[in-house]
């Protein structure tokens, strides 16, 4: 397992509900059952413990350890209620599997009765159920994502041409701060599904997001973001039709910003957007015509060596 897959497995344990992984087939005994009968039930079903029920209420748990004590005392005809544990810790079927894991750790028991919202016994959970549940969920998640990636990659392979590109176009509305970043988010997801190196994806996402935010913040009527993906590079083109940048050279200086205070209060207008794009992309071209609009093009190469990948220490 790679570290990412381990992380995914941990996340799944948090998402898994006890009700989804518990054993529902309930075999129970009454407090008056003899330990001899318990021995038979455990053996027949190859299990190591049983809930003890009286009138549909859980009153205890009898386990193989209790059976051993009865055997040692030569009391196999004793009733279950003399040997069972009656202080029973339960877990809810809606709780996360992680709650059960910590309960197993604390209580030192091998099984936990699972109850519904009304406190009725609905199943039983063992550490083995959790392992099986996580493995099943992991397999499901893996297959879903692999299938998606496989389909997207095949689109490229099945199309025959001298140069195939995928072009994604996004409309960027002006001053819509709740939706701002949506285009870059969708672009990023697409690149991940195409199976592109995560470090390249991150760089494209940063370039595209800064460009998108510039349109959201500064344009008069909104603009467009276009990403072209081919086998060699990813090009991000961002353009709008005004107001244009008065002084392009000044705009490329770190910290230079024309953003008003209310934009800064939202976390933007640090005067680093264009600087970040230039530093993150392999190539950047910026053209602007006052009152007519701005066009920014940034290129990131997919092959190592052609692009910048390293980091420097501040």
């Amino acid at each position: 397992m790679t570290p990412t897959e381990v992380l995914k497995a941990q996340e799944l344990v948090y998402e898994l509900k006890i009700g989804d992984i518990m054993t529902r087939r309930l075999i129970t005994v009454s407090p008056e059952t003899t330990m001899r009968e318990v021995k038979q039930v455990l053996r027949d079903h190859r299990i190591s413990g049983l809930p003890v029920m009286r009138d549909e209420h859980l009153v205890g748990i009898v386990s193989i350890e209790d059976l051993i004590r009865a055997l040692e005392a030569n009391e196999l005809d004793a009733e279950v209620n003399t040997y069972m544990s009656s202080l029973v810790r339960t877990v809810g079927e809606g709780e996360s599997a992680v709650r059960a894991l910590s309960a197993f750790g604390r209580a030192g028991v091998g099984r936990l009765p699972v109850v519904d919202d009304d406190g009725r016994l609905v199943g039983i959970l063992t550490p083995g159920d959790i392992t099986r549940g996580v493995l099943r969920a992991l397999e499901r998640a893996y297959h879903e994502e692999e299938l998606r990636k496989y389909r997207v990659r095949h689109v490229f392979e099945d199309i025959a041409s001298d140069r195939t590109s995928l072009i994604l176009r996004y409309d960027i509305p002006v001053r819509d701060f709740n939706r701002a970043g949506r285009a870059s988010s969708q672009l990023k997801q697409t690149l991940v599904r195409l199976g592109i190196d995560p470090r390249i994806v991150r760089r494209v996402a940063i370039v595209s997001y800064e460009a998108e935010m510039n349109i959201v913040i500064h344009s008069t009527t909104g603009g467009n973001l276009v990403a072209e993906i081919n086998s060699e590079l990813i090009a991000v083109l961002a353009y709008d039709s005004g107001p244009g940048i008065e002084d392009v050279k000044a705009a490329m200086q770190p910290g230079w910003s024309t953003a008003p205070d209310w934009i800064r209060e939202m976390g933007f207008g640090a005067g680093m957007g264009l600087v970040n794009i230039k530093a993150t992309a392999d190539e950047m071209h910026l053209d602007s015509w006052p009152r007519r609009g701005t066009k920014l093009e940034a290129v990131i190469y997919l092959k190592p060596g052609e692009g910048k990948t390293g980091h420097e220490t501040e």
Binding site: R202, E210, V275, H311, E312
Partner: protein, 119 residues
Amino acid sequence: MHLHEVMALLDARFVSSCCNPTIDVRAGFAADLMSDALRYDLSQALLVSGLANPQVVRTSEMADVAAILMVRGKMPSADALELADEIDIPFLSTELTMFETCGRLFAAGLPACQRFNGR
């Protein structure tokens, strides 16, 4: 550093539905202006911020941030939380100031994020 260690150090708590304390953060960065943050390599890092709007989440999504921590007891806006749940990123909150938060994390061994290689 695992999120549960971060939580113990800062008396922080989860405010998002994504609440996995075993997530590992590799480094830390603190900023209120998001473009300042994007100049650095924030992948798998903890982003400390006093900014409580959806853009802090979007920025984190773009930069592959592992977890977001709000300082000064701030709560993220409903929009920000909704977005955090959508992209499945954990959001934490502490009562401490940004200064003390960073000081405690750094003293406990969480390194600073490094800058992207610029040309």
